[in-house]
């Protein structure tokens, strides 16, 4: 069966043209509304590029520099704190060394003992000993006793023993401990 509609052909053609025109006009209208809306929207919500207030960049750079300085200070303080912590946790060197000195010979007296770390990161220590002995032989015996304890990796005489004010021989030793 061909079409059922008995509407004259020229009217069908005219209606098709009208429908096309209506569709086209509607599409044009929608397009206009969308374009207009986009333009208006762009004007309303126009985003200006962010402008940095004058001097703010410089302030930020200064603050960054200060921050770096503070970080360095914190790092140094932290290093000091670790050294103190390590020195506080070190054994009672004076007592130990006094015992060694007495056993080595009764003529050796220890005047000062200083313990210091070699560096912040390094775990090696140096025990600096200042003492006096009745003679050179006594000081040498003391050095040999220290070495024989096995506590130190090296026992080094800083300078040659010299006579003190009370006719005793003074000596300076650096004992290294490397874990």
């Amino acid at each position: 069966m061909i079409h059922e509609n008995l509407l004259p052909a020229h009217r069908i053609a005219r209606r098709k043209v009208h429908r096309c025109m209506n569709s086209w006009l509607m599409a044009l209208g929608v397009l206009s509304v969308l374009t207009g809306g986009s333009i208006i929207g762009a004007h309303i919500t126009k985003a200006l590029p962010p402008v940095m207030p004058a001097g703010l960049t410089q302030d930020i750079e200064l603050a960054q520099t200060e921050l770096q300085d503070i970080e360095l200070q914190i790092e140094e303080l932290e290093r000091t704190r670790r050294a103190f912590q390590q020195s506080e946790s070190s054994p009672y060197w004076d007592r130990l060394l006094q015992i060694i000195a007495r056993k080595a010979s009764g003529h050796t007296q220890l005047k000062s003992i200083q313990v210091a770390t070699a560096s912040a990161d390094d775990a090696s220590w140096t025990v600096s000993i200042h003492g006096s002995a009745s003679d050179r032989q006594s000081s040498a015996t003391f050095v040999a006793a220290l070495e024989s304890t096995g506590l130190f990796s090296s026992v080094r005489r800083r300078s040659a023993p010299a006579l003190g004010t009370d006719d005793r021989t003074e000596f300076f030793l650096d004992c290294s401990i490397n874990p």
Partner: protein, 293 residues
């Protein structure tokens, strides 16, 4: 949902029905009826303006309209065409044959045709031609009043379209539109319109007391149509009968026909099964035309 308006222009009245169509079928949205002020077969401009005003007041929405072709513009014929599988230009042949048989110029009419049930190898079709000039005049009147005409249909086929929606087990259905100006009988076989005829002198412009006698004559006409349809379709299945138009409002006529046809009488309903006013049936049938421009 899409809306369509059917406008049935008869010699005495104009009936309009607006339907809403959807996936589940259709439903009646609005209806209106007015008397004609002119005796002209075509609707005059003043009538078209009155109609447009009436539709507005009755709540019709703007929708494409389908009208019935003027009676004097319609011609129908049964044609023998080559089978569709022959590859022949069937549309051109049908148009040429229709023009030759009815002595018309090929450009003067719009043709529509549909296949008829056939047991043989031939391709027999029912063709309806609608003359362009009188149809144009009618459409011009309506469009000048602001109505948009998107379709024109044969009123008998529009009636058949509505009747084919009646839920029924019958293979043959006869619909009779009974009006004061005449009667039109439509015969359907499996929903396909076999033919339509308007018996001469069978008009309901008689006194109510004579409606029983009118029913007897109408019953004979309907029986003749049923016999023809059974012969044509080689089927003796029971036939359904529907009475449309003003005649359906005559209780004497309907009781007489009920006595004659019994349960075979079934009136048109919507897709929801609601009974519809039989006088609106022709307009609804027009509104059901789907092939609109």
């Amino acid at each position: 949902m899409p809306m369509r308006t059917g406008i049935d222009i008869s010699p005495t009245t104009v009936t309009a029905a607006q339907i809403k169509t959807g996936k589940s079928g259709w439903s009646l949205f609005a209806s209106a009826r007015m008397s004609r002020s002119s005796e002209s077969p075509e609707l005059e401009s003043s009538e078209a303006r009155r109609l447009e005003s009436l539709l507005f007041r009755r709540g019709f929405t703007s929708a494409p309209c389908v009208i019935n072709a003027p009676e004097d513009a319609l011609t129908s014929s049964t044609l023998e065409l080559p089978p569709a599988t022959s590859g022949a230009p069937i549309d051109k042949l049908a148009r040429a044959e229709f023009a030759r048989r009815n002595q018309l110029e090929q450009d003067d009419f719009v043709l529509s045709y549909w296949g008829l049930p056939s047991n043989g190898p031939g391709n027999q079709v029912m063709a309806v031609g609608c003359l362009t000039a009188p149809t144009d005049a009618c459409i011009d009147s309506l469009e000048s009043a602001g109505l948009s005409v998107a379709g024109v249909d044969d009123p008998a086929r529009a009636m058949g379209r509505l009747l084919s929606n009646i839920p029924s087990t019958t293979t043959v259905r006869v619909g009779a539109r009974v009006e004061s100006w005449g009667t039109c009988i439509v015969v359907l076989h499996h929903g396909t319109m076999l033919y339509s005829r308007s018996p001469i002198g069978l008009t309901l412009d008689v006194a109510p007391g004579e409606h029983a006698e009118f029913a007897g004559r109408l019953g004979q006409e309907i029986e003749a149509c049923v016999s023809f349809a059974r012969h044509r379709s080689r089927s003796h299945a029971p036939a359904g009968v529907s009475i449309l138009g003003e005649g359906a409002h005559s209780s004497t006529l309907m009781q007489s026909l009920a006595r004659k046809f019994g349960d075979s009488i079934g009136q048109p309903v919507t897709t929801n099964g609601e009974q519809i006013d039989a006088t609106l049936a022709p307009a609804i049938g027009l509104a059901l035309l789907e092939d609109i421009a």
